[in-house]
């Protein structure tokens, strides 16, 4: 079903006009209200009046995550703080978090985007939508919540409850749609198996997942084990949250909400545009946001853009492939995101010396598991079991307090980690991809 037929099926000729109008007014606003952009445009010698078509976007400088970090907390806001009615932020596990502010209109636009997403996944007012994303600074819970309410579905905000409880709710409340991260749902499947609950005892028909990349094999696994239709969505807090792009019933790429976001695809090394069909880094420009507009934001996500043909569902909104990778070494683990460098920093803090380590992520019975192998520094009193246990516990605790999850820590002898040709250890071994 199509939530907003006017926009979602608008001939591309008209859509381009809408985009250029919104782009120009956004540029005029950020140039007046955000000093970062005024400086960036001036120092690049760009006159925003020279932006006369979508193609001219290429003349503007990029915005990077680093720029956003430096602006912490409010320097990138384009509206006075009293007009901001909601704050969310990125997880911040990767350093300074990025604070994103929403005005009333931003929240309206956001709920429109997630309502379009849910409608495309077949959600109607007859559905019971169970949202397992967290309702906190993270955008997942609130983002989908607003959209589901907009459609008129019955929303069950079931985050923060234990998996067993989620299953009980699902069965007793007759949940028809489950929304969460793919990691969560894999967990749920394994708990259901443990408890011996057959999916046919539930009423689920649709699963809507996002917030981390997941493979088509995983989709098949989820669909078969829960007897549901599983759909992918795409979003990121910096741009808005969930609802930036969504799959329709044809599962042939994700439609981008182009009346709110202009997408570009670049080669992450040369920053040159990538042709239709080629893979590259996704770059977004927001064209309707008031509170936190971003110009050419580099997402770090690797996708391919599909051509501008109309989808079988009737939508003219351009599609992108599912996210296949990252330009950086960001690791997705359950609902957490982190860089290996952060683990390194923590290890250094505990051991007080540089040491080799290896992060091994695997999937066992549907659950993601992580083991971190750490080389014990030379000269450490290795004979004393007590010392080792203490060290192990301390590392685990430090990681839990700063990154949020508790990995298994294995201490290994010095120089025991495998080196590759360049004399470096493989910092990350992700076995999930092989499954």
């Amino acid at each position: 079903m199509i939530f907003n037929t006017t926009i979602e099926t608008m001939p591309r000729k008209y859509l381009k006009q809408v985009q250029i109008e919104k782009l120009q007014s956004t540029l005029n606003r950020v140039y007046r209200h955000v000093s970062f952009y005024k400086n960036a445009f001036d120092s690049h010698g760009v006159n925003i009046e020279g932006i006369k078509s979508i193609e001219d976007l290429g003349k503007l400088p990029f915005t990077t995550k680093d720029d956003l970090r430096k602006s912490y907390p409010y320097d990138m806001f384009a509206m006075p703080l009293r007009d901001i009615v909601r704050l969310h932020c990125t997880s911040g596990t990767t350093g300074t978090p990025v604070v994103v502010g929403y005005t009333k209109n931003d929240l309206q636009a956001w709920s429109e985007c997630t309502a379009r997403t849910l409608s495309a996944c077949g959600v109607t007012e007859h559905d019971f939508v169970q949202i397992a994303f967290h309702y906190d600074l993270f955008t997942g819970g609130f983002g989908f919540h607003q959209g589901a309410e907009r459609i008129g579905a019955s929303v069950i905000p079931a985050s923060m409850t234990a998996i067993e409880k989620q299953i009980t709710i699902m069965r007793d409340y007759k949940t028809t749609v489950i929304i969460g991260s793919p990691g969560f749902i894999m967990n749920l499947i394994s708990v259901m198996k443990e408890l011996g609950i057959h999916p046919e005892k539930l009423f689920l028909k649709t699963g809507i997942f996002g917030s981390e990349p997941w493979s088509n094999q995983m989709r098949t696994y989820i669909e078969e084990n829960l007897k549901i239709n599983a759909l992918d969505t795409y979003g990121l807090t910096e741009i808005m949250g969930p609802g930036v792009a969504f799959e329709c019933e044809h599962k042939n790429g994700l439609h981008i909400n182009e009346d709110h976001f202009i997408c570009e695809l670049i080669n992450p090394d040369t920053c040159e545009p990538v042709e239709t069909g080629g893979r590259g880094e996704l770059v977004f420009t927001t064209i309707s946001k008031e509170g936190f507009p971003l110009i050419r934001y580099r997402t770090g996500d690797i996708v391919a853009l599909m051509d501008e043909s109309t989808c079988a569902c009737g939508r003219t909104l351009r599609r992108m492939t599912r996210v296949t990778g990252r330009t950086d070494d960001l690791i997705f683990f359950e609902q957490f995101k982190f860089f290996p460098g952060e683990v390194e920093k923590i290890l250094y803090g505990v051991i007080k010396a540089a040491s080799h380590y290896q992060i091994i992520i695997d999937r066992e019975g549907g659950n993601d598991v992580m083991e971190i192998k750490v080389e014990v520094p030379q000269g450490f009193a290795i004979d004393e079991l007590k010392n080792l246990e203490q060290l192990q516990a301390e590392i685990a605790k430090k990681i839990e307090t700063s990154l949020g999850f508790k990995p298994k820590i294995a201490l290994v002898e010095p120089k025991s980690l495998i080196f590759n040709a360049r004399g470096k250890t493989n910092r990350v071994v992700d076995r999930r991809k092989m499954k």
Partner: protein, 243 residues
């Protein structure tokens, strides 16, 4: 119906519009709000052909109309109700209306006659005073006359420049109500107003123009919700700003 892309326009060396893009779809009421000197009237005057654009595109009904003469543009169905009404003071009310249909009498006389009756029905006061000199009408009545005169061209899109200027609020309401009624009859309206509250009240969408640039656009609801619009054009938050 009307599509404008990167329009630049002005007077002599003075560039007033600095690359304005907007569109109006059939059957819509679109409003342009902005302060004095922002370029609102320049925009309408350029669309209607009174000023030649410096650059950019004006596409009306799939035809490029930038730089065409006023009479050609009116003939295509794009008519302006000018600021301060500009009626012919020394002619009678009826003659003003008849002149409005000037391009039509030879070819569509019967239809124009019908329109004349329709307009008199829409604004009964004009019927009442049809023989009176137009200059003797009150401001509000003159605005109705100017609107009637424009409607006599049978426009597809009607552009109005500050219809509420110098008019009693109760008449403003009546004129705006008549616009809504005309829209129901299929007319498309591009409305320029300083009275943002009134124009956003009847418009579907709007653009906010500031020193020749569009700085905000959206549905009327979105614009009414926008705090910048509220402060600058709706007079809310007045005290807090002065703090």
């Amino acid at each position: 119906m009307l599509k404008i892309l990167n329009l630049e326009s002005g007077y002599g060396k003075l560039r007033v519009l600095k690359g304005v893009s907007l569109h109006v779809s059939p059957g819509e009421i679109v409003t342009i709000i902005g302060a004095n000197g922002a370029g609102k009237s320049t925009l309408l005057n350029t669309i209607s052909g009174l000023i030649r654009p410096m650059s950019g595109e004006i596409v009306f009904d799939d035809k490029q109309t930038g730089g065409l003469g006023v009479e050609r543009i009116v003939g295509l169905g794009c008519t302006l109700v000018p600021e301060r009404r500009q009626i012919f003071n020394t002619l009678s009310v009826k003659d003003n209306l008849v002149l409005g249909g000037y391009l039509r009498w030879s070819k569509q006389g019967a239809e124009a006659k019908q329109d004349l009756d329709y307009i008199m029905g829409l604004f009964p006061i004009l019927k009442e005073r049809e023989k009176q000199l137009a200059g003797t009408l009150s401001g509000g009545e003159q605005q109705m006359l100017a609107l009637g005169r424009a409607l006599m061209t049978k426009p597809k899109i009607l552009m109005m420049d500050e219809p509420s200027l110098g008019i009693a609020p109760i008449i403003v309401k009546e004129i705006f109500r008549s616009l809504t009624k005309l829209r129901e009859g299929g007319l498309t309206v591009l409305l320029v107003e300083q009275n943002a509250r009134a124009s956003l009240g009847i418009a579907d969408r709007g653009y906010v123009i500031e020193t020749g640039n569009i700085i905000l656009e959206g549905t009327s609801e979105e614009l009414l919700n926008n705090q910048d619009v509220q402060r600058a054009y709706l007079g809310k938050d007045y005290e807090r700003i002065n703090e």
